[in-house]
C-alpha cells in the first residue's frame, strides 16, 4: 500500500515528473518504475507500452474521497455522494438491466425530499399557466382520464454525469458515469396538456415547479426550478409521469407526479411536480443562467474564472457507453483469454451508431454489436467479445459513437466551472490471474 500511495502522491504532486520517472522517452513504462506500478496494481501491465503519458491506471484513479454506500431499505447499495441533499450514484455494473429497477435508480436532489403527499394521489393538483389562453388546474386523476396515457422507456441522466473526469476538478458532486437511469415511465405527454391549454404565440419557454422545500427548510427560499425551450416540451417523449416500472413513483423519485424530459439534463425532469408555466422569455429560477447547466460556446482555459455570461444552456446530453456486465475491479481466473462483454449506450436526443472496446489503452479497438432502442430516448444494449493476449492487468475502455459520428473523447472536454457535459470514455479495470 505504501507504494500505491507513493505513486498517487507522485502523480498528484507533479505529473510531468511522475511521467518522466515512470515512462521512458518513447512512452513505455520501464525498469523499476514499471515494476513499481505493477506492484501497486498487484499485476503486470501487458500493454504498458501503450499507456498514454500522464495517465494513472484506472485501478488507482480513485475519485476524490471514496464514497460510502447508501444503506436504506428500498434502495440498492448505491454510492452515497451526500446525505443532505441526498445524492447517490449507481455503480456501472448495477446498470445491466434493460429497464433500471427502482432500487437502482440514482438519486439527485437539490432541496429536501418533501413530506409524502398524504391524500389520494389522484387528488394531487397540477397547474399549467402563463402564456396560455386557458390556464389548467387539473388533478392527477383528471389528467389521467383526459389525456392519452403512454408508457415509454426513457433515459434520465444528470447534467453532471461524468464530472469526476474533469481536470482540474470542478465544484459539484463528483459523479463517475452512473448518474443515469432507464425506467419504464407511464404518464401523459406534456405536449397534450399544453395544447389543451391553448399556448399563445409568445409561449417560447417553460418553467417547472415542484413541492420540494429549500435545503435550509426556509420557506422563503426556493429549491431548484428550471425550464427549457417549448420545442423540447412538445416532443412526444416528454412526459408528465405518475408511474415508474408499473408502480406509483417512489417518494424519493417524485411521488406522485413528475416530469420526465429524456435526453436533457435530469434537472429538467422536475420531481413532485405542481406547476408548469409557459413564458415568453427563458426561465430565471435557481438553476438557470450564469454557469448553471450551461456550457462554454468558446472553450475556456480549464480552471479559469468566468461568470458564464456567454455560455449556452445545455440541451441534449452527449453520447456515452458503459460496460455493465463486468464490475470495475473484477478479478478473473488465470488463462482467461476471451471475455464476453455487455453494456448500455445512449446519446441524448440522438442515437448510438457504434460502440467500440479497447483493452490496450486505445491503441486498437474491437467493434461491438449495438441494438436498436425500443423507442426514442431509450438506451441501447450493446454486446460483443474481446480477446486478451495474456494474464495481467487490463483496462476495458468503452467508446460510444453517436448518430452524427461524434465519439466519446479520452478526456473530459470543454471544461466549465460547474463541470457539465463530461463524457470521457469509461474505463473498467480487470485483473486476470
Amino acid at each position: 500500500m505504501a507504494r500505491e500511495r507513493a505513486l498517487h502522491e507522485l502523480y498528484a504532486e507533479d505529473p510531468e515528473r511522475a511521467d518522466a520517472l515512470a515512462f521512458g522517452r518513447r512512452g513505455a513504462l520501464k525498469g523499476p518504475a514499471l515494476a513499481a506500478m505493477g506492484a501497486a496494481l498487484g499485476a503486470t501491465i501487458p500493454f504498458s507500452a501503450k499507456m498514454p503519458a500522464g495517465l494513472l491506471p484506472a485501478a488507482l484513479a480513485q475519485p476524490a474521497g471514496a464514497a460510502p454506500l447508501l444503506r436504506m431499505d428500498g434502495k440498492a447499495p448505491l454510492l452515497l455522494l451526500g446525505e443532505r441533499p441526498l445524492v447517490a450514484e449507481t455503480p456501472e455494473a448495477m446498470l445491466d438491466d434493460d429497464v433500471t429497477p427502482v432500487d437502482k435508480f440514482f438519486v439527485r436532489n437539490n432541496g429536501q425530499v418533501p413530506e409524502r403527499f398524504a391524500g389520494d394521489p389522484k387528488s394531487w393538483r397540477f397547474r399549467l399557466d402563463g402564456e396560455v389562453d386557458t390556464p389548467l388546474d387539473l388533478t392527477l386523476g383528471e389528467m389521467e382520464s383526459r389525456f392519452e396515457v403512454v408508457t415509454l422507456r426513457l433515459q434520465m441522466e444528470c447534467g453532471g454525469n461524468g464530472r469526476s473526469a474533469f481536470v482540474p476538478e470542478t465544484r459539484g458532486n463528483q459523479w463517475g458515469n452512473g448518474a443515469i437511469s432507464h425506467g419504464e415511465w407511464t404518464g401523459v405527454r406534456l405536449r397534450d396538456v399544453i395544447r389543451a391549454a391553448g399556448p399563445r404565440e409568445g409561449a417560447r419557454f417553460t418553467a417547472h415547479f415542484g413541492a420540494d422545500p429549500h435545503l435550509s427548510g426556509d420557506t422563503s427560499r426556493q429549491a431548484i426550478n428550471r425550464g427549457m425551450p417549448v420545442a423540447k416540451a412538445m416532443e412526444d417523449t416528454t412526459l408528465i409521469a405518475f408511474r415508474l416500472n408499473g408502480q406509483p413513483i417512489p417518494q424519493l423519485h417524485g411521488y406522485p407526479l413528475r416530469m420526465v424530459t429524456p435526453g436533457w439534463p435530469g434537472s429538467l425532469s422536475q420531481k413532485w411536480l405542481t406547476r408548469v408555466m409557459l413564458r415568453a422569455t427563458p426561465h430565471d429560477g435557481p438553476g438557470m443562467g450564469g454557469t448553471s447547466y450551461r456550457l462554454p460556446v468558446r472553450p475556456i482555459v480549464p480552471g479559469s474564472s468566468t461568470n458564464g455570461a456567454d455560455f449556452q444552456d445545455m440541451t441534449s446530453m452527449p453520447v456515452r457507453g458503459l460496460l455493465t456486465s463486468i464490475a470495475h475491479g473484477t478479478r478473473m481466473p488465470a488463462g482467461t483469454r476471451q471475455i464476453p462483454l455487455r453494456g448500455q449506450a445512449w446519446a441524448g436526443d440522438r442515437t448510438v451508431r457504434a460502440v467500440d472496446v479497447s483493452t490496450d489503452f486505445g491503441a486498437s479497438w474491437t467493434a461491438m454489436q449495438v441494438g436498436a432502442p425500443p423507442n426514442r430516448h431509450a438506451w441501447q444494449r450493446w454486446q460483443g467479445t474481446v480477446a486478451l493476449p495474456s494474464d495481467g492487468y487490463f483496462e476495458i475502455w468503452t467508446r460510444a459513437t453517436d448518430s452524427e459520428g461524434r465519439m466519446q473523447p479520452h478526456a473530459a472536454a470543454n471544461w466549465n466551472p460547474q463541470g457539465y457535459g463530461a463524457n470521457a470514455m469509461a474505463r473498467t479495470a480487470i485483473l486476470v490471474g
Partner: protein, 166 residues
Amino acid sequence: MSLLPLEKAALGAICALGLLVLATDIPSRRAPHAPAAPPPTPMALATAAAEARAAAGREEAARATAAARAEEARLAAVQNPPETAEALPPGHGREEVFARCTACHSTAIIRRSGLQPAAWDELMDWMTEKHGMPPLEGPDRALVVDYLARSFPPRRAPRAANPFLN
C-alpha cells in the same frame, strides 16, 4: 304484598320450567330446530360486499400509510446524519465552516471537493446567488475560504501546469 300458597306454587313451577328450558335448550340442540335464515337479499349481499371491500380498502390504506411512514422515517434518517464539526479535518475556522455550511447541506459535498483558493472564494458568491446563502464577506469570509482552501485543495492535478494560468 303477600302471595297465596297456590300463587307461590304456580310461580315456582313457572320458574322451574324456565330453568328446565334454559338447561336443555342449549344452542347445539337448538340449532337444528331453528328455522332457516331467509336468503340474504341482493341489497344485503351488495352491502356486505361493499363492507368487505371497504374493510380491505381500510387495511390497504393502513398498510400504505405504514409503508409511507416507514419510507419517510428512512428518508429522514438518511438525510440527517448525526454530524459534528469533527467530520471535517482540524484547522482554524473548522467550527465556523461547519456551522455555516451545514445550515443547509451535510459535510459530504465539502469533503469530496478539492478546489483552488480562488474557486473556493467564488463558490461563496455562487452559494449566495444560486442557493440563497446569506452573503459572506470580510473576515468571516476569509476565515471560511482559508480553511476550505487549506483543507480541501485540488486532488486531481492537471497533467501539466496550464501555461495560461498563474
